[in-house]
């Protein structure tokens, strides 16, 4: 018995559950309280949990992310919401030099059980400063885990294990998914360690994550109508990558396309391709190709933004290229 719910509502439920069940959990970030959350994720929470636990912060990304690290060290389980990945650039020093390194620098004396959530991605005509997809940057840093819930189940299920995790976990939520509606199964519990096949196939595997998953699924659907059975692998966990699942899909399909909204050069997709090169070179019937964002700051104009981002038709074309 499942029920229909939106990605936004699922994430909201997950936060509500965490706040209701664990007094150490609190939500901190810009406009999470009175405003109701930039994307209405925490609407109503302020009245229910109060201003101490639904804590509106000043515009001080470096300061309140660092405060979240300190609060985690102090025994709390903070959920720090950075409004969008674009603003997280201001907090990177605290995330990379403190949160990720503290356990190691202290010889294992201190862990940082912190969850940082942020909206990522383009597609809403917000232009160059509001359209970054920097998950790949975060996935480069030892000492943190990086998640990308791309389905309703994961929006509902990934927060709990992230909060249970003794180390910093960064969760990327793609703005293009918030209004996604779908069936939430009764058992939506999720791990934060494995990739998952979202559509089975045998001719090619489309490896992707986050906001590109619906595009990959649409491409697979279109390809099916043309007789190509594309498998779709959702990475889900961007650090550490689930190499075994990637290699299993590649071994099965012998062809792969990696789709990633990050700019192509230095993208997370490059890491996936490199892993395939290192571990499944002899399984490949064709070189792996990438469908990423064009190397341009994301333009405002709709037609240019669409042209800059991965799209289902580009994925279809890339797949066909593998059989040409």
């Amino acid at each position: 018995m499942s029920r229909k719910i939106s990605y936004r509502a699922a994430m909201r439920e997950a936060m509500h559950e965490a706040l209701a069940n664990d007094p150490r959990v609190f939500l901190m970030g810009e406009d999470v309280g009175r405003y109701g959350g930039t994307y209405a994720f925490s609407k109503g929470f302020l009245d229910e949990f109060g201003p101490e636990r639904i804590r509106d912060t000043p515009l001080s990304e470096l300061g309140f992310v660092g405060a979240g690290i300190g609060a985690a060290l102090g025994g709390m389980r903070p959920i720090v919401e950075v409004m969008t990945v674009n603003f997280s650039l201001l907090a990177l020093d605290q995330i990379v030099n403190t949160a990720a390194a503290l356990r190691h620098m202290s010889g294992g004396q201190f862990s940082v059980p912190l969850v940082i959530r942020m909206t990522t991605g383009a597609g809403r005509q917000l232009a160059a400063q509001h359209s970054h997809s920097l998950e790949g940057w975060y996935a480069h840093i030892p000492g943190i885990k990086v998640l990308a819930p791309a389905t309703i189940e994961d929006a509902r299920g990934m927060l709990a294990p992230a909060l249970d995790d003794p180390d910093p976990v960064v969760i990327f939520e793609h703005a293009g998914l918030f209004n996604l509606e779908g069936e939430l199964p009764d058992d939506w519990s999720a791990d934060i360690s494995s990739a998952r096949v979202r559509r089975a196939g045998k001719d090619v595997v489309i490896i992707t994550h986050g906001g590109s998953l619906p595009k990959a699924l649409a491409a697979a659907q279109a390809l099916a109508e043309q007789g190509v059975e594309a498998e779709v692998l959702d990475l889900r966990v961007l650090r550490p990558l689930d190499g075994a699942s990637i290699m299993a899909s590649v071994a099965r399909c012998r062809r792969a396309v990696v789709v990633d909204e990050g700019w192509k050069s230095g993208s997370l997709a490059a890491e996936v391709v490199a892993r395939i090169m290192e571990n499944a070179f002899y399984e490949l019937d064709a070189p792996v190709v990438r469908v990423c964002s064009e190397e341009v700051p994301i333009p405002y104009a709709k037609h240019l933004e669409e042209a800059a981002l991965p799209q289902a038709d580009k994925i279809v074309a890339a797949v066909k290229g593998l059989f040409a």
Binding site: E30, D31, G33, R34, Y35, G36, T38, K43, D56, P58, L59, S60, E61, L62, G63, N86, F87, L90, R124, Q125, L126, A127, A128, Q129, H130, E294, E295, V296, P297, P299, Y300, A301, K302, H303, L304, A307, A308
Partner: protein, 347 residues
């Protein structure tokens, strides 16, 4: 929910001749009508992305910018349509930019939050809160130290860089670092803080431990002035005074304009964080109708004159919309333009 009681509406004599007074009134009207139309076009799906309206705050930008010279540099925020227009940008180029058309000031690459204009030394349009502050410090540094004979930044001791930012930006580290650098190096930066009491849904008392923003300037040894941002006379005269102080002290000056945003933060804001009554009370202090009333009371403006100015503004807006509608789309083939500067073309 905090209640920000509005002080009594601006009143008192207008110390300007009719001509000047009407120029400022005209600019406020031009911004108001342009933005009302922008909101309408947003509803119609012609404009997308984020749209931050300046409605209610017009006296601040208009009064301040009229105290500056065309040689000065301007740095603004994502709530900058008004500043861009007063600065001298063509309304059609602004509207076309919001439409995403090639005829826009940035060919549709930037949109509402990224209006730029080299001709009027308008350095944008910045969607990162506080992001324009260090930029303004650098522009002032260049004006101070750039050697004679360099083209674009040609040394100009007189050149001021005015940087507009909101109350929310004051909490950012960028504010602290920028004010310190400007004061430490004695740079001609006019820090124009548009305090509209909210940063998105966060009231200033929930953002600043010290809500008297002028006290912040003191911690950098920087002179600070405050003006009623709803009163264009106070805004303009205070800014002129600030410019004098800046030249005499040969260092930066901080000005706080106390104003209020009549509309939502952006087009996606349910305004749960403030009471309708508070907004209504502030609307009684609206910069345009209060200034209009004062001018009429002084016999510097008749109803017919006002209607004529308003009609002219409407006509300019209609023409801007027509220009934007008639505009073209940049070809997708040009997507990668303007990422790097073409070889040979000097910046």
């Amino acid at each position: 929910m905090t209640d920000h009681r509005a002080p009594p509406p601006p009143a008192g004599p207008v110390p300007w001749d009719k001509d000047f007074a009407l120029r400022l009134l005209t600019d406020m009207l031009r911004i108001r009508r342009m933005e009302e139309k922008s909101a309408e076009m947003y509803g119609a799906g012609k404009i997308r992305g984020f749209l931050h309206l300046y409605i209610g705050e017009e006296a601040t930008g208009v009064g301040a910018l009229h105290a500056l010279s065309p040689e000065d540099n301007i740095v603004a925020t994502y709530r900058e349509h008004g500043h861009a227009l007063v600065r001298g940008m063509d309304m059609g180029a602004i509207m076309a930019e919001m439409y995403g058309k090639r005829e826009g000031c940035a060919h549709g690459r930037g949109g509402s939050m990224h209006l730029f204009d080299a001709a009027t030394r308008f350095y944008g349009g910045n969607a990162i809160v506080g992001g324009g502050l260090p930029l303004a410090v650098g522009l002032a540094l260049a004006a101070k130290m750039s050697p004679k004979g360099t083209s674009f930044g040609a040394r100009n001791e007189q050149r001021i860089t005015a940087c507009f930012f909101g109350d929310g930006a004051v909490a950012e580290g960028a504010f602290h670092e920028s004010l310190n650098l400007a004061a430490l190096w004695r740079l001609p930066v006019l820090f124009c803080c548009e305090n509209n009491l909210y940063g998105m849904g966060t009231a200033i008392e929930r953002s600043e431990a010290q809500t008297d923003l002028c006290l912040k300037a003191a911690s950098y040894g920087m002179p600070a002035l405050r003006a009623d941002g709803m009163d264009i006379v106070a805004v303009h005269e205070t800014t002129r005074q600030a410019v004098c102080t800046l030249r005499e002290s040969a260092g930066p000056v901080f000005v706080e304009y106390q104003t209020y945003r009549f509309r939502a933060h952006s087009m996606f804001d349910a305004e749960l964080y403030r009471q309708k009554a508070e907004v209504e009370e502030w609307k009684t202090r609206g910069p345009i109708h209060t200034f209009t009333a004062r001018l009429k009371a002084e016999g510097k403006l008749t109803e017919d004159e006002f209607l004529a100015l308003d009609a002219a503004a409407d006509a300019e807006v209609a023409a801007a919309v027509a220009f934007a509608e008639a505009g073209s789309w940049e070809p997708v083939a040009d997507l990668l333009n303007d990422v790097m500067t073409p070889q040979g073309s000097a910046p």
